[in-house]
């Protein structure tokens, strides 16, 4: 049986181009930026204390909500799956509207979902939700923690005043590493 060599090269190139493409489309790659941000979200739960009233009992889980498009893929789920913080498990919920966030302890708002927060910030503060964003306007609109990118590193800003109003105790260790900003 004869099989021209250039056919094999075509198959090879096809695999390279389309194979790569379909694999990537099927399981979207989570960028390193969001892998790091997911790790930060998990870490924040260790350094923030919520009022006891936010939990039904000593073992009820900490709920992390992600508003809108989920940039973390499976990353955040993979992180929290086998981990506990102060004896509490962690749960991730992807939500579509800010109204659903009142039940969460930490709410992550992607830059593209920020519009959906309009007018809801006060209610979230009253409900005791730690809000985490990633846009230059997030702190000004009442958010507690905001991710920034400095060169190629992820940094975060904290507005301690907003944290207090939300009833959260933010540890000094976390504050020390943050850029402190006021509204």
């Amino acid at each position: 049986m004869s099989f021209p060599r250039h056919c094999l090269w075509l198959v090879f190139l096809g695999l390279l181009l389309f194979g790569g493409r379909t694999v990537c489309d099927a399981a979207p790659e989570v960028s390193k930026e969001y892998q790091v941000k997911a790790a930060f979200l998990y870490n924040f739960t260790k350094f923030v204390e919520w009022p006891a009233s936010r939990f039904s009992d000593a073992t009820s889980p900490i709920v992390i909500a992600v508003l809108g498009r989920n940039p973390f893929g499976e990353e955040l789920n993979a992180i929290v799956r086998e981990r506990k913080v102060n004896g509490r498990g962690l749960v991730v919920k992807i939500i579509d509207s800010a109204d659903e966030a009142a039940a969460a302890h930490l709410l992550f708002v992607g830059a593209d979902a920020e519009d959906r927060l309009a007018g809801k910030m006060d209610a979230l503060q009253k409900a005791g939700v730690l809000t985490v964003g990633e846009s230059p306007r997030f702190i000004a609109s009442g958010g507690v923690i905001n991710f920034t990118l400095e060169a190629d590193k992820v940094r975060f800003q904290i507005n301690p005043q907003a944290g207090e109003q939300t009833g959260l105790k933010i540890s000094a260790q976390l504050l020390k590493l943050a850029m402190i900003v006021r509204k």
Partner: protein, 654 residues
């Protein structure tokens, strides 16, 4: 028994290869990395480099220029021991070791130890010497761990950067002191790169001020003469310095950095040092508006066995302001002033110093406007630099470019620019008179020593460059970058015919002035394809082509025509076996240049990181032959061959 190279076997091999590639494409390792990240402390997370396309990188991606960026990680993985060596990673750069200490670096042609069409800046300070219009690469010994990135622009950048940014601009940007907190210690050595070592200590003063203090040293053994004897060109360098970064508020940053570098070379028969201190104040009111003020003082001293004794003091002031007008215009403008004061002393009879003092002043202004013709799709950039120098007066360096981004993954750009290379002190002032060639019999039947003399009437070299580029990401893990250029040069400076004969006993002097007698064009391009089959593997293949056609008096036209390789091919691979073990390698083919045959060479680096604080690396350089030449001997410097070398290095961060 079958012939191993029968078509059938080869067919099987290529089927196997595509199967292997497909298998690696299907590997999905991302959840493993995520879980590891979650176990890092907050401090460690803050030091994690995210390779996503940040705003700045995105801007680079939309730049109307052939730009490549080497990140801190690229530098680490390259195994390069200096900035000059690291530039070998950039597609289209020609980097050639002249001898153990000196390197010839250029882009798009005209390479030699005295390559004069490439502007190099370290943290905004020009390290391009006005003396011979080139760069002392051996003095650029910045600790590579503290380098944030090296931006390389192939092609002119004169509208913003000014004169001498003709064939390219290299910006070496070090990290803010904020990003180099804690202690770094590294040490290593080998057979060619004999020692390398450094210490850096970063800390914080109060809430808003960060600092680092550092020192490093390195020494390299003799390179080889053809035949294998040592060339007696071993050398060593030492550097020390500090940097303070003060963040007065979110928008304001003040930087003060001071550094001293010294080196002795050619078996301790020559030495050099550089001292510089720089202050910068920047304020960003918004993404679109900001102000920057920078000033520096720089002293470069050299005492060369085969050259002269020179000291050059430079003071430079610059101001840049950017602002938006309406929705569509972003303007940047700036002013600059530079004063150069130099002294020279003769150390050998072949480089006569006729007038020991020289000085020069350069005043410049530039303005550039980015106009969004169609927001997010089509941007026109137009601008010009106006510069006045004491030798050639006013120089105008305009450029116009168009960037078209049909999709987020594709950029097409085109640019037309003019750039000039101003004459050096050597070419335009009466300071130096180097002997050039063997004595000959001239008028009056006596012997004359041919001697080059500065020509106050020499004009700047000019370039009109026409460039096209295309960057595309056809799939998530594939990116392609292609650029093409046509460069039209006029008034290239070369050695003229004897203009004055000064009789003397026993020999007279025949004065050869520098003249603008060469002209011509070059064309070609660079193409690079990067594929990451998986999160753990990245491969970059690059090819560059350069065709030069220079006219003028022999042999100078031919020499500059053949000074850079016509074809260069490189293949680079970065592979992580596990989180601990990595293997990096590169293979380069460099075409023949005048006096140097083509060669293929390869570097390999194996590293082991048992934890986030410690790294062990083993590096082999120039592995494919015992030694090979990369550059022919030039005036006042002997070249030698680069030997194969190995070194080990331990890096400790805590």
């Amino acid at each position: 028994m079958k012939n191993p190279s029968s078509p059938k076997t080869r067919r099987r091999a290529s089927a196997f290869l595509s199967g292997l590639l497909a298998a690696s494409l299907h590997a999905a390792p991302s959840d493993e990395t995520g879980r590891n990240l979650a176990d890092l402390s907050l401090e460690q997370l803050m030091n994690e480099t995210v390779t996503s396309v940040s705003k700045k990188e995105q801007k680079l991606n939309e730049a109307p220029a052939a730009i490549s960026v080497l990140s801190n990680d690229d530098l680490r993985r390259s195994g390069a021991t200096s900035v000059a060596e690291a530039l070998r990673l950039v597609p289209g750069m020609s980097v050639a070791s002249v001898n153990s200490s000196q390197t010839a670096v250029s882009a798009r042609g005209f390479n030699s130890l005295y390559a004069n069409k490439l502007l190099v800046l370290v943290d905004g300070r020009a390290v391009y010497s006005p003396l011979f219009a080139g760069v002392y690469w051996e003095l650029q010994q910045t600790t590579l761990d503290d380098v944030d990135r090296i931006e390389v622009i192939r092609g002119p950048g004169a509208t913003v950067w000014g004169s001498n940014a003709v064939n390219g601009v290299i910006n070496i940007v070090t990290r803010s002191a904020k990003d180099t907190q804690g202690t770094l210690i590294y040490a290593g050595g080998g057979d060619v790169q004999q020692t390398m070592g450094g210490v850096r200590q970063g800390g914080r003063i109060g809430e808003k001020t960060y600092y680092r203090v550092y020192a490093n040293e390195q020494s390299r053994d003799d390179y080889l003469l053809p035949g294998g004897a040592p060339a007696q060109d071993n050398w060593a360098s030492q550097q020390g310095g500090f940097r303070f970064d003060h963040y007065a508020d979110e928008a304001t940053q003040m930087t003060w950095q001071t550094e001293m570098t010294s080196a002795d070379f050619n078996d301790r028969q020559s030495d050099t040092y550089n001292f510089n201190t720089l202050g910068r104040w920047t304020r960003d009111w918004s993404d679109r508006s900001g102000l920057e003020f920078q000033t520096y003082y720089d002293r470069t001293h050299r005492d060369e066995l085969t050259g002269a004794y020179t000291t050059i003091d430079t003071v430079d002031l610059s101001l840049q302001h950017r602002f938006g007008i309406g929705e569509r215009n972003d303007v940047i403008w700036g002013l600059g002033y530079r004063h150069i004061d130099g002294k020279a002393k003769q150390t050998n009879p072949f480089l006569v110093v006729r007038s020991p003092d020289f000085d020069q002043q350069i005043v410049s202004a530039f303005v550039q406007d980015d106009i969004k013709l169609v927001p997010d799709k089509l941007t026109l950039t137009a601008g010009t630099k106006l510069e006045h120098n004491d030798y050639t007066g006013i120089e105008i360096q305009p450029s116009v470019s168009l960037v078209f981004t049909p999709t987020k993954r594709q950029t097409l750009w085109a640019a037309v620019s003019r750039a000039v290379r101003t004459p050096s002190v050597l070419e335009a002032s009466p300071t130096f008179a180097p002997v050039f060639g063997a004595p000959f019999i001239g008028p009056g039947a006596i012997l004359y020593v041919p001697t080059l003399v500065g020509n106050p009437g020499v004009a700047s070299e000019t370039l009109w460059a026409y460039e096209l580029g295309w960057r595309i990401q056809p799939a998530d893990r594939v990116s392609v970058d292609v650029s093409l250029f046509y460069n039209d040069y006029e008034n290239l400076i070369t050695v003229g015919n004897p203009s004055v004969f000064i009789p003397g006993v026993p020999t007279g002097i025949a004065e050869l002035p520098w003249t603008n007698d060469l002209q011509g064009h070059t064309y070609g391009g660079e193409a690079a394809v990067t594929v990451s089959p998986s999160d753990h593997w990245r491969v970059t293949a690059a090819y560059s082509l350069l065709i030069a056609n220079i006219r003028g008096p022999a042999p100078f036209a031919e020499t500059s025509e053949n000074s850079a390789p016509r074809h260069q091919v490189s293949l680079r691979s970065a592979y992580d076996f596990t989180k601990q073990w990595s293997l990096d390698g590169q293979v380069r083919f460099v075409d023949a240049i005048e006096g140097v045959p083509a060669y293929v060479t390869a570097d390999l680096r194996l590293s082991y990181r048992p934890n986030d604080h410690l790294e062990f690396a083993l590096v082999g350089q120039n592995l494919l032959d015992p030694s090979h030449p990369e550059q022919a001997t030039a005036a006042f410097t002997a070249s030698s061959e680069v030997p194969r070398g190995f070194y080990g290095k331990i890096t400790w961060h805590f």
